[in-house]
């Protein structure tokens, strides 16, 4: 099936407008629009334009290196990758379960991660659009502008992010790319000094987070016509939930609700993700398109992240955030909320929740002392081929993150498969772009402010395009690149794609340059 506005029928006759690079997001992406003579959009695509190849070069590395290596996928959510890999390798070393101390220290690390990343996204990256307007003056539309115009808001954002980063430092050893989690457990406790430091700031942070939720919901209340409909579209939503249906970020089972809010997949263990999800590749972007296998690519795509999590769970296990969740759900008047901009509101509810959980964990003596490591080689989980195997799934700030590894007898990784959060939202972000294009590109002159509307819709998903460029799937591009080295690559292309690479020669104006 072709999605509306994904591919124009006669691209050669249209005018190309590019937003390149998409800014105030993490990573490298661009948007291309093809416009007809009336300035109406006929094609709109979000392209992920880089690849780095992690899945491939991790193969052959000793498994104990991997939780540290994979953090370099992303400097904004390194802990998410650190822990997803650690969880996968817990199974490789037969540490099911890990110790109480290890579980709580990792959870503390992760909730610090979600808190700092969500705060960064809202305050440093998106708040300029929300506070100044989508087509406000371009040179002021950034965190510096916010610092000058709304110093109080900017300061709270900086301090919230700082606190989350400090939680990470206290547990992982370093704010960016730490080393605290290892296959089978953790390698350090929280020190008494760090514990005191974090405890001292906790109350203030809870207040700041409550203020942030208030800002986000007031934006909706003040302009519901904009906030409820901008870039909106209906979709299914996927997330982890706890066994009892509570919001869960570190460890749980997969749940999917459809666009009407009905639960269509529930209690799927994370180890079974391959039975649930498949991915499709399209020729114009490096990022794959995942979908529910049972439904198929046309309608089986879904959204992940705060909007999905806050609505997929039955409740939130901390009181302040639960109160805010109820208010959020009430806003939908019995229907799931599909508004793209509601991501911000849900994200701030999560910030409040993470601070509450951090507070609970700081009161738990297990983070200061106790057994750190577990594991029994005899209990290692094994693949059908006899190799040790583990899958780690975690709710990263942007959504469900999946790491999957197999390890040979020599302790070297033989297989690595990663599905990162932003990839799940690929179709959704493209739909958001097209929704905005339909709504706003109605023949009016193209201005910088108008183009920023498209970016506002993308930003709401907090895309981590750096994470999304991990895959080697992009390597095929080398085929095109090789001009200088054409024969060998051409040969590979033909020998493996016979039936599916040549047909695309008919695709519009591609591959011929």
């Amino acid at each position: 099936m072709a999605f509306d506005l994904e591919t124009a029928s006669e691209p050669g006759k249209l005018r190309r407008v590019a937003i390149d690079p998409v800014s105030r997001v993490e990573g490298h992406g661009k948007v291309t629009l093809l416009l007809d003579e009336h300035n109406r959009v006929q094609q709109a695509r979000l392209h992920i334009v880089e690849f780095r190849g992690f899945e491939k070069f991790i193969e052959g590395r000793p498994y104990w290196e991997v939780p540290v290596m994979v953090q370099r996928l992303c400097g904004i959510c390194p802990v998410s990758h650190h822990l997803a890999a650690s969880k996968a390798f817990d199974r490789v070393v037969g540490a099911m379960p890990i110790t109480a101390s290890a579980g709580k220290i990792r959870r503390l690390m992760h909730y610090g991660q979600v808190m700092q990343s969500n705060a960064l996204h809202f305050f440093h990256l998106s708040s300029p659009d929300l506070l100044f307007g989508f087509d406000s003056e371009v040179n002021r539309r950034n965190i510096i502008g916010v610092a000058e115009k709304h110093p109080d808001i900017a300061r709270k954002g900086v301090l919230l992010r700082k606190f989350g980063q400090e939680v990470i430092r206290a547990t992982a050893g370093k704010r960016v790319h730490g080393t605290g989690s290892v296959p089978g457990g953790v390698n350090k406790h929280v020190s008494a000094a760090d514990h005191a430091l974090l405890k001292a700031d906790l109350g203030k942070m809870r207040d700041f987070a409550q203020d942030a939720v208030t800002i986000a919901k007031q934006l909706h209340a003040q302009n519901p016509a904009l906030y409820d409909h901008f870039g909106a579209f209906r979709s299914s939503m996927m997330s982890l939930v706890a066994p009892d249906g509570a919001l869960e970020l570190y460890d749980g089972d997969l749940r999917v609700r459809d666009a009407s809010g009905a639960t269509i997949v529930d209690h799927v263990p994370d180890q079974d993700y391959l039975n649930l999800i498949e991915e499709e590749v399209r020729p114009w972007t490096y990022m794959k398109f995942p979908y529910l296998k049972a439904i198929g690519p046309d309608t089986g795509w879904y959204r992940v992240g705060p909007l999905a999590r806050v609505q997929n769970c039955d409740y939130i296990g901390t009181s302040l955030a639960e109160r805010e969740r109820r208010e959020f759900v009430d806003w939908g008047r019995g229907e799931p909320i599909h508004a793209t901009l509601a991501y911000h509101w849900a994200r701030m509810i999560e910030v409040l929740h993470t601070i509450e959980v951090i507070g609970e964990l700081l009161d738990d003596p297990d983070i200061l002392a106790g057994e750190r490591m577990a594991g029994d080689p005899a209990r290692a989980q094994r693949h059908a081929n006899g190799e040790r195997e583990g899958i780690g799934v975690i709710e990263a700030p942007r959504g469900t993150l999946i790491h999957h590894y197999r390890v040979g007898d020599d302790d070297l990784v033989t297989m690595c498969n990663l599905i990162v959060s932003t990839t799940h939202n690929n179709q959704a972000m493209n739909e958001a772009v097209r929704s905005v294009a339909r709504q706003y590109f109605d023949g009016r002159a193209i201005t910088e402010g108008l183009l920023n509307h498209i970016e506002v819709a993308i930003r709401a998903y907090d895309p981590c395009l750096s994470c999304a460029t991990h895959a080697l799937g992009q390597m095929p591009l080398d085929v095109v690149l090789i001009g200088a080295d054409g024969s060998a690559v051409d040969h590979v292309l033909r020998s493996h794609t016979g039936d599916w690479s040549r047909p695309q020669a008919g695709a519009p104006s591609t591959a011929t340059r």
Partner: protein, 190 residues
């Protein structure tokens, strides 16, 4: 004739700083933000040109360019050259810009073999998946390169990422017109 006294109250021009992440992970940019509240002091002295933190898409004339990440595709090379052409002082920030970093782990792999394996052995791909080949996608380089192989680099700020304190000391030296010098403890490589 008497000379006007020097106006000691004039505000010195703010330094204009551009930043970019090429084949990096944004960790260096995050570490720059880890200066925390010092950010408010920093923006008293600098203004940002093209950067992931602003919506300026085309770099203008700048005093300082901070480059995170190495070169993995043709677009990276173009952006790097634009930065060199517009920045008086260009800084390679972090392991990837200085050595290629972790992404350079792919340098020993054969492109054809990787292509084969990714599309035929990776689990969970639909049967209809095909090779991305759109001209909108920049062409990857055969290998990942550090930036000094392509342009002259004035300073190298090591670390994965450099610490917030290292950024702070480095930028303060540049803002004061001193040759940057990272003292013991600020120079680290992990």
């Amino acid at each position: 004739m008497t000379m006007d006294p020097l106006d000691i109250h004039h505000a010195p021009r703010k330094l204009r700083v551009a930043t970019v992440s090429l084949a990096g992970c944004f960790g260096c940019h995050m570490s720059l933000l880890d200066i925390d509240e010092r950010l408010f002091e920093l923006i008293e002295h600098v203004e940002f040109d093209r950067s992931p933190f602003t919506d300026i898409k085309q770099i203008g004339r700048c005093d300082i360019g901070l480059i995170e990440g190495g070169l993995c595709n043709a677009e990276n090379v173009i952006v790097l050259r634009e930065f060199r052409a517009h920045c008086k002082t260009l800084v390679a920030v972090g392991a990837c810009a200085i050595t290629g970093g972790l992404p350079a782990q792919r340098n020993h792999l054969d492109v054809g073999v990787m292509l084969t394996e990714v599309y035929h052995t990776r689990p969970g791909l639909s049967a209809s998946s095909r090779i991305p080949d759109d001209p909108e996608l920049p062409l990857p380089l055969n290998q990942v390169h550090p930036i000094h192989e392509v342009v002259h680099v004035d300073y190298f700020l090591p670390g994965c990422p450099p610490s917030a304190d290292a950024f702070w000391a480095f930028l303060n030296d540049l803002m004061a017109g001193r040759t940057p010098h990272l003292g013991h403890g600020l120079l680290q490589y992990d």
